[in-house]
Amino acid sequence: MSVLSDHIVIAPLLVPLLAGILLVLMRGSATLLRRNLSMLGVQALFAVSLMLLLQVLDGQLLVYQLGAWPAPFGIVLVADRLSAMMVLLTSVLAFLVMLHAIHGSDRKGRQFHVLFQFQLFGLNGAFLTGDLFNLFVFFEVLLIASYGLLLHGGGAGRSRAGLHYVVINLVGSALFLFAVGTLYGVLGTLNMADLSLRIVALPENDRELVRAGGLLLMLVFALKAALAPLHLWLPSAYASAGPAAAALFAIMTKVGAYAIVRVYTLVLAPGAEGLAELVPSLLLGLGLVTIVVGTVGVLASRGLALMVAYLVLVSSGTLLSAFGIGGVEAMTAGLYYLLHSTLVAAALFLLTDNVADTRGRFRDRLEPGPLLPAANLLGGLFLVLAVAVVGLPPLSGFIGKVLILQAGLTNAWMPWILAVVLITSLLTLTAVVRAGSTLFFKTESKAGAAKLPDMAFLVPVIVFAVLIMGLVIYAGPIYDFVRATAEQLADPASYIEAVLGDAPGSRRP
């Protein structure tokens, strides 16, 4: 056990990497075997993620030096509360999505499980890495796997959306490298803790360059997090992806949000004057714009999948506005909302697939269709998820939004925050209610018969709904945890101390 606890920080990377490599080697073997291996990998990932979270629960920062090279010269992985929380969230999501995928949707194309495992590898790497260049590398790993997953199953719609998604992300990667190059050229390091120290000690005439590099970096992360006006790739990509891929992509916008939070709190906030004030106000302003744009999309959607994609956009905007409000309160609210919105979005994508399957040729189009034989079950699940996603009491969306609004009360933009969040909530409620009544109540007599939903596909949705209720029932302990996480983020000195320690070269003039 001690070997495992020594290497627990790298375990969430190694498990999906090994599972992925094994699955590549097992290309010819039976589907059942590959499914079992992939499922085993995801379960093992869940176990190590849980262990990692338990180790950092007391506020300890775990630093893993690859090859025992001390930072800032070697590559480090760092696990704090936020990283461990994101890794665990990813593994929970992966487990439930895998539960859905092994009942058939993995057979619609080739190599689903390989792509899935490498996607998890990239995600966990991005959450755990301690330097900017490896953040870039893991972004590329998760992106190339996501390209494959998005296109999985084929079809004209997926090719079109996939082309847009790939091109915009490749441009994003190029900008990422420009930003990394600029920061390295001025500061001479890419380790985030070291960057933080060196920015503070920077002479005045180099600061503009660092500001430019930092803002470019924020731009790239905002693209991944789908902040308006960089959100245009999201709706069609998410709506045309297969159910398993779309549900897993619920975490993808959160990677961008995570990177913004990590780089901002650690590197930019302490040292980069000018950016320290600019970034939050940009996040808040553009986040509110994202909410409005997303809501218009929700109202205008003519299919359930597209509507859910726009709901993801709304939640992404809400999340980034919360981070933009600033302060521990708002960060706490944002992190709670992050947990909630990831689970709800994934559940809605899986439910959409179930509804589309039972309605035959009507798919997920929001028009009167056949009478659904299991309308109570499907409609009930839809009701629970809709209440959660819109933010009505008593579910977790309500708690998240109340926390965000509470944090926003002291902000200078208070009227805007309240008005945008409350009015758009009402509008999304209208749209979601209309969608629900069209799908489950209005029937067309000539539409033919609907199929019974496959219970195996509904199980993950039900588990998601239970988890969402768990977020409410255990709101107290979860709130305490995310609050401790936010406090840890507000104290970058302890992170820097943990990474650099008394390593030679860390105390520079």
Binding site: F133, Y147, V167, L177, G181
Partner: protein
């Protein structure tokens, strides 16, 4: 030399962005390639431009070239190469699926 490198990076970025905004997939792929060349050159220059100095600390030489950007650019080249291959295949696939090579799949 600095001016030459800066102009080269700027020129490639300009051409890359122009081609990216074209409506057909082939120019877009070329634009992405040019943009990644520009990035690679830019990253390479970030270790400062030196002539004839080794990338390791050697007693015979007082000056040394920064080896880290060289390692970074190597990684960036490999990733860029893989991505270019992928986007070429994707463009071909979109051409087959959509019946034309317009980026929105519309034949205009």
């Amino acid at each position: 030399m600095e001016a030459l490198i800066a102009i080269a990076v700027g020129l490639m970025t300009t051409c890359g962005v122009y081609l990216l905004l074209r409506a057909r997939t082939f120019p877009v792929v070329l634009g992405l390639t040019l943009l990644s060349y520009a990035v690679n050159l830019f990253l390479f220059a970030m270790g400062r431009l030196t002539i004839g100095s080794p990338a390791i600390i050697a007693p015979a030489h007082t000056a040394m070239a920064d080896p880290l950007p060289q390692a970074l650019v190597l990684t960036a080249i490999v990733i860029g190469f893989g991505m270019t291959a992928f986007v070429v295949v994707l463009a071909l696939r979109a051409r087959a699926d959509l019946g034309n090579d317009h980026v929105d799949g519309r034949d205009v």
